[in-house]
Amino acid sequence: MTRSSSYLLQFLAALRRYRDRPSKDTIERFINEDSLRFIQSSINALDKKPVPYNVLIVYKKIMSEETPIRPQEMKDGLTKLESLVHEIREGERVRKDEVDTSLKFLTSVIQLMDSEAEDLGKRLYGSSANSRDIS
């Protein structure tokens, strides 16, 4: 479990509560600038634009189509999520089915992000101490 799944869980927690009781405060309680930046960087990564390496590497498998979710599908889900959250933060009313769609998307990808993160950990820190690079 690393940061990518943490950020997505923040969105899940916020939207699940918003679905039950629509209030901008619910969103502000869980989502911060870091999690919004992560979503923006993720969309950029899937668009093959420059992003921090720790974001780029999270999407490496998705982009090489080695996972059940297609890069375009992932990008569409994240783009919808981002605009939904922005609309709520700006005080606009959003449709319940849009919230449900984003929640469904988050539910399906959070586990995937965790397995990606596990690979990322191995790549960055090595699977065993002896295989590490010289410091």
Partner: protein
């Protein structure tokens, strides 16, 4: 007739709330361990207070309370959320607890050595801990707050807000480094990682955080390692390069994404030493490199594009802090005298009528180590060297406490 199953409505009734409650319970056990066991090092108490406060905030978290008191086992989103919350708490507790175990066997002499080097670089050091997570392997430094702790509390509003501006690094060591004081100077590079990321920030001047591919990231990674080698060399002289050569030459098997080839690193170190007037020492490294068969080291790769500019910028920054350790006056003679005394197991607190400076002692230790390596009393020599390093540290601390 089978009884109809009643949907779960309380913490006792479903596996998800039970799991979260059990994670909270485990946090209480860990709290007890943190209160009972000391965490060694100058920032041990800081780390302890940090973890205990995060644990307290997790236990009192309104968010966790909501998850426990409003179970919705028929809602898939609730299951994913509460499972994620439990897993995050467990991961946080594992990371927090790891340092109780991994930090327990650090010798006090080593703590004092790293503290001395760290203070030398910076007046207001960033919190750090030492840990021994493995027996063999190379040391490495982690931004522990950013990589290990914060990712696991990001979901919980109260701990996240508290930890927002907290910092702690961990320098991970293997026992093969810890047990051989002659290799402690390798840790100067690790300390340099902390100083570069919080103080000098030379890398940021030349490389953007954003990259489009792994090649660009590899170049930035290599540049960072060259910066840390250079900090160690500029500030401490030949000792870092000498130990790097001694310990790791010929051990590489593949080109790394994170570290430049050892030949490149040592060639750069040799060039820096020549600029700092350590000409013999620079020549020694170059000569030793030539002796290593090419097959035993990786084929030369190109240096990162900005290497020269980076090294110049770093030299200026280090000079402005008065930290450049050049070969001046009779320093080489002093180092030779200390090396001779070390080999003879003679105290090196005062040599030639002057109190020994720890950097001179470290640089001398390499030459003594080379000679003593094949002797039957090598173990005793390492122990003696550890004592001398400790005494030099004590002397320096007393000097700071009572300036002349």
């Amino acid at each position: 007739m089978a009884r109809q199953r009643i949907p779960a409505t309380s913490a006792e009734d479903n596996i998800w709330t039970s799991r979260l409650a059990s994670s909270l319970q485990r946090s209480k056990t860990l709290e007890g361990q943190f209160q009972l066991r000391p965490i060694l090092g100058p920032y041990g108490e800081y780390y302890k207070r940090l973890i205990l406060h995060i644990i307290e905030l997790l236990q009192k978290s309104k968010y966790v309370e909501e998850l426990l008191n409003d179970p919705k086992p028929s809602d898939r989103t609730w299951i994913v959320e509460i499972s994620g919350a439990s897993a995050k708490i467990e991961a946080f507790l594992n990371q927090a607890a790891a340092l109780i175990v991994h930090g327990a066997q650090i010798p006090r002499d080593l703590l004092s050595f790293v503290g001395n080097i760290h203070r030398r670089f910076w007046d207001r050091p960033t919190p750090y801990l030492l840990a021994i997570p493995f027996i063999g392997g190379t040391p490495f430094t982690q931004d522990y707050m950013d990589l290990a702790l914060r990712p696991n509390i990001e979901l919980f509003p109260e701990p996240r807000n508290y930890a927002g501006n907290k910092d702690i690094f961990v320098i991970n060591l293997s026992s093969e480094i810890v047990d051989v004081p002659a290799n402690w100077p390798l840790l100067i590079h690790e300390t340099a990682h902390i100083v570069e990321s919080r103080e000098f920030r030379i890398l940021d001047r030349f490389y953007s955080e954003d990259n489009v591919d792994s090649d660009a990231q590899k170049e930035a990674n290599w540049a960072l390692e060259i910066i840390c080698d250079a900090i160690a060399t500029y500030c401490c002289g030949p000792i870092f390069g000498n130990r790097l050569l001694r310990k790791y030459a010929g051990m590489e098997t593949r080109q790394s994404e994170t570290h430049p080839p050892l030949r490149m690193r040592l060639q750069i170190i040799s060039e820096l030493l020549a600029k700092m007037r350590w000409t013999e020492e620079s020549q020694y490294i170059t000569t030793q490199l030539r002796k290593i068969p090419y097959g035993a080291m990786l084929v030369e790769a190109s240096r990162p594009r900005f290497t020269k500019d980076i090294l110049d910028a770093l030299q200026k920054a280090i000079e402005s802090k008065g930290l450049l350790y050049e070969l001046l006056g009779d320093r080489r003679a002093t180092i030779n005298q200390i090396a001779t005394r070390l080999k003879e197991f003679k105290p090196c607190v005062v040599v030639g009528g002057r109190t020994v400076e720890i950097l001179d002692l470290l640089n001398a230790s390499h030459y003594a180590d080379l000679d003593m390596n094949s002797k039957p009393n090598y173990g005793a020599f390492q122990s003696f060297l550890g004592d001398m390093i400790r005494l030099a540290n004590i002397n320096q601390e007393m000097h700071i406490a009572q300036p002349s």
